[in-house]
């Protein structure tokens, strides 16, 4: 299935999760305590959250949110 991390496509097998999407987008190894993952409606998701075809997730830091950045700079 194809999902999007910060609007970048990542291909995963069914059953893979937010964590795998971040690995595929080369973000997981840099993930730190100020970062959170959000769905396209702005709700935070857990790293083990299920994804489906076409899911869009966004990684944002607390700084981004406080500064009102809509898109991630990560």
């Amino acid at each position: 299935m194809k999902v999007y991390v910060n609007d970048r496509p990542v291909v995963l097998t069914h059953g893979m999760t937010v964590r795998h999407a971040l690995i595929g987008a080369d973000i997981m190894s840099r993930f730190d305590s100020s970062w959170r993952v959000y769905d396209e409606w702005g709700n935070e998701m857990g790293l083990d959250g299920a994804l489906s075809e076409g899911s869009r997730i966004y990684v944002r830091s607390e700084d981004d949110l406080q500064n009102g950045y809509g898109d991630s700079r990560l």
């Binding site: 990542v10 291909v11 995963l12 097998t13 069914h14 059953g15 893979m16 937010v18 795998h20 999407a21 690995i23 595929g24 080369d26 997981m28 993930f31 730190d32 305590s33 970062w35 769905d39 396209e40 409606w41 709700n43 935070e44 998701m45 857990g46 790293l47 083990d48 959250g49 299920a50 994804l51 489906s52 899911s55």
Partner: protein, 512 residues
């Protein structure tokens, strides 16, 4: 008598002043969790500095909230698999806790199938609450729905789970079980309960985005209590006339939804999440004791002897050369997936095991990550690319260095990165660049971890994908079982064979 009448009047006045529920209105409360995955103890989530969760703390809050108004406590699936606290007891520990907390019902999640059908059957039998699955055929003793009376309100709760369950677990776990699309089965059940229910709740394990689609597609659902996507819905969402709620994951939050009804119609809704933080003294004592008892059992399991190592198993040098422990683990992976070859990242192997007794805890130390096995069809040239990447940073001791089974290769550090690999053979024969081979790996590499790209490329090339009778039909994915962690498969293998003594076999050879 006068005194009694005065007190009664005072009570009425108090009720009128401090309650916003008008005469004739009824208040009920829905408490909910989802995707617990056996995380009974507080933990620091990845990337977080603070402890969150703890089922004993959540249970105490449930008791407090229950005492305030008539309530139901719901679980939206994936309760029994994930954390070792659940896995080592195949979910028994979780059911014990759920019984003690007096859950009103749960819906099956896809991970409830992970320990096989016999364990699932046992779980359903031992649960002292109904287990729901309206879109599942072939599982004994589950119900499509229940109707619960709360403060005079009849609440129908219909359970549905993802029909993608067969593609992410071992086929034997779902053999003979049919998963129907939730949107196809719900209208019939809604029609069935409509006359006897004031409120229709769908307890769903299909994920938030699918819940939104469901709400737009199927009319007359009042509330969807969801799970699967581990979504932290701080406030209820609304799609058409349906409210959707979900409470994150791992008992890190308890969902609270207060509903006021007037003659069967919802007139007010107030929902929020209570984050669970382990503050000492705020835990429910009996639940805390059960959590502790299972922790003690885990400690005993970790000390259990499962077999013997006939030689030292080298987990120290896995980032720079072939090791016997790397060979052993990749051999088990290859055999489990029935593949031509297996490739994993050496960095996934974290320590060695000394010659002598092997304890369960030793394997947990060697393989601490929650990885599972997949196998994909790769072309010979993609295998070459994979190995080239694997040896591209040997000098730095990078975790990407491969450990392999079913294949041999040589590499030269004096050659430039990208042109280091020589003489790849699978099954003793030189690989052909355009021939396809089945290559097993772990989910970390398959997702592109440690910079491995070939597995993702193979998936991108995949054009056929379907599920027939619980079996994955794909032109690229040949094995995909996230129901068992790799370390549990290794433990089972050692238990079965008792003595292991792998050796280094010149699978990986450094040449000048």
């Amino acid at each position: 008598m006068k005194q009694f009448t005065f007190l009664l009047l005072l009570l009425c006045l108090f009720t009128c002043l401090y309650s916003d529920v008008s005469a004739g209105q009824t208040e009920i409360r829905i408490l909910y969790i989802n995707d617990f995955h056996g995380f009974a103890e507080p933990y620091k989530p990845f990337g977080s500095d603070n402890f969150l969760g703890g089922i004993a703390y959540l249970a105490e809050l449930v008791e407090k909230l229950r005492s305030e108004k008539p309530s139901v406590l719901l679980a939206a699936g994936d309760m029994i698999q994930g954390n070792d606290w659940a896995n080592l007891f195949q979910g028994d520990s979780v059911i014990a806790i759920m019984n003690a907390m007096r859950f009103d019902c749960m819906v099956l999640g896809n991970h409830e199938f992970d320990f096989g059908q016999e364990v699932l059957k046992k779980m359903i039998t031992e649960a002292r609450f109904p287990v729901l699955g309206a879109n599942v055929e072939g599982v004994e003793n589950i119900k499509p729905y229940i109707v619960k009376q709360l403060n005079g309100v009849n609440v129908a709760i219909i359970g549905v789970l993802t029909d993608e369950t067969p593609v992410s677990t071992h086929p034997k776990n779902v053999s003979g079980i049919l998963f129907l699309p939730p949107a196809e089965v719900l209208p019939n059940y809604i029609a069935e309960v409509r006359d006897k229910a004031d409120l229709i709740v769908v307890l769903s394990h299909i994920g938030y985005s699918s819940d939104r689609i469901l709400a737009g597609k199927v009319p007359r659902i009042d509330i969807i209590v969801g799970g699967h996507s581990h979504t932290k819905l701080a406030q209820p969402a609304k799609v058409e006339n349906t409210l959707i709620v979900q409470a994150w994951e791992h008992a890190k939050a308890l969902g609270v939804l207060d509903i006021t009804l007037d003659e069967g119609r919802i007139v007010k809704v107030d929902g929020h999440l209570e984050e669970i933080r382990p503050v000492e003294g705020s835990e429910k004592q009996d639940i805390a004791l059960t959590v502790k008892e299972y922790r003690q059992k885990i400690n005993a399991v970790m000390q259990e002897k499962i077999g013997q190592a006939g030689t030292d198993l080298d987990g120290e040098n896995v980032r720079k050369r072939e090791t016997n422990l790397g060979n052993f683990i990749t051999d088990v992976i290859r055999h489990t997936a029935g593949s031509d070859a297996a490739i994993i990242n050496g960095g996934g192997i974290r320590t060695s095991i000394r010659k002598g007794d092997i304890l369960t805890g030793n394997v947990y130390s060697v393989l601490p990550f929650d990885n599972y096995i997949l196998s994909l069809r790769l072309k010979g040239k993609q295998i070459r690319e994979t190995l080239e990447h694997g040896v591209s940073a040997v000098e730095e001791g990078a975790g990407r260095f491969p450990q392999v089974s079913g294949l041999t290769f040589a590499y030269s550090l004096s050659a430039p990165v990208g042109a280091r690999i020589r003489d790849i053979a699978i099954g003793g024969k030189p690989i052909e660049p355009d021939r396809e081979y089945t290559v097993a790996t772990n989910d970390f590499l398959a997702a592109g971890g440690d910079g491995y790209k070939a597995f993702g490329d193979a998936l991108r090339e995949s054009s056929v994908f379907s599920v027939t009778g619980g079996v994955i039909i794909s032109d690229r994915i040949v094995y995909n079982d996230n129901s068992r962690w790799l370390r549990d498969i290794i433990i089972a293998y050692i238990r079965e064979h008792q003595m292991i003594a792998p050796s280094v076999e010149k699978r990986i050879v450094e040449v000048p």
